[in-house]
């Protein structure tokens, strides 16, 4: 319905205003209805302003900036309407160390309301997780699960 779309759009946009500067340590991002008078069919544009940089074409962003912007957008939607679980396959791959940290810091927030399954090669991301599942192929071509469950020492790490 029309009101519901507009209402959700506004909620996500407001959440994006919090989430984006948190991931990028500044800057801002805004969703814009291309045709506000046609709410049932309008496309949605994304305007990104990176901290210290000028408002620029999305295509010119770096690989890491594009990934982090996508994470900001998707996580804003999650925080407005959490799905029961979410499946993320190596979405931290393009990120540098500082961005991986901020990404995982925000992921902890999402993890409070949704179950998260995150595939990763990144050691930092593994440290932030509550549980690790290792997959191996001792026999070539045959996958096997090795469960590795953490017991966290209270903040002494």
């Amino acid at each position: 319905t029309q009101e519901r779309f507009i209402e959700t759009f506004n909620l996500i946009n407001a959440k994006l205003k919090e989430v984006f500067p948190r991931l990028f340590e500044g800057g801002s991002a805004t969703l814009v209805l291309i045709e506000p008078n046609k709410p049932l069919e309008t496309g949605v544009e994304l305007m990104i302003h990176l901290p210290g940089k000028k408002l620029t074409r999305l295509s010119l962003l770096s690989g890491g900036e594009k990934a982090l912007s996508a994470i900001a957008f998707i996580f804003s939607i999650f925080l407005i309407k959490p799905a029961s679980f979410c499946l993320l396959d190596e979405i931290d791959a393009p990120l540098d160390d500082a961005n991986v940290f901020r990404f995982n810091d925000l992921l902890k927030l999402i993890g409070q309301n949704s179950q998260i399954v995150m595939i990763t090669h990144n050691k930092r991301t593994m440290e932030f997780a509550d549980t690790l599942f290792g997959i191996t192929m001792e026999q070539k071509g045959i996958s096997k699960l090795v469960s590795v469950k953490f017991e966290r020492a209270p903040e002494a790490q």
Binding site: K81, S84, Q115, V117
Partner: protein, 168 residues
């Protein structure tokens, strides 16, 4: 509808049965290249009713059946079962008396498919129904595939709208 347990047998590189008990919070799945991590995501999407072979990296649906390796011959059936907690009202009304929902999908190399809901035979349509309105339907914002994260920022205005509609 939290994930409780996933059983995979004969699906892609999971020749032998693998069972994953999902805890609350954040689970990281780790391992070397090609060991089967993304195949687990494929198994989850498949049992949830994914019909696009391309989304599963295959050319025909038969590609998801274990095709042999390391001296083991191909199998003739792939089966994935997913146990969900029915804990937040996202599931269809008719299932409200169940505390748990079990979905099972089977594919035989002959091409026959079978679907089960709480061990009762059902149609693919019934599986899709479970996830409608939960944000976990076909092109959900809750599933991001390997390599796709960069493209989301450069999505078309229509695709971006679609993500928002899913949440509305």
């Amino acid at each position: 509808m939290k994930l409780k347990k996933l059983d995979i047998v004969g699906f892609k590189s999971f020749c032998d049965k693998a069972s994953i008990d999902f805890p609350p919070g954040i689970s990281a799945v780790v391992g070397p290249n090609g060991c089967g991590k993304s195949n687990i995501i494929d198994a989850l999407r498949w049992v949830m009713g994914e019909q696009s072979v391309k989304q599963l990296r295959g050319k025909s649906m038969e590609d998801v059946i274990f095709s042999g390796a390391n001296g083991k011959p191909p199998l003739n059936m792939a089966e994935v079962s997913l146990l969900l907690a029915n804990d937040n009202g996202d599931a269809p009304e008719e299932l409200r008396d169940f505390t748990e929902i079990m979905l099972t999908r089977r594919l035989y190399r002959s091409g026959e498919s079978a679907y089960f809901l709480n061990k009762q035979p059902c149609r693919l349509k019934d599986i899709h129904n479970i996830f409608m309105g939960s944000g976990l339907g076909a092109r959900s914002y809750a599933v991001i595939q390997q390599g796709n994260i960069g493209a989301i920022t450069e999505a078309s205005p229509e695709e971006r709208r679609f993500f928002i509609e899913e949440a509305a």
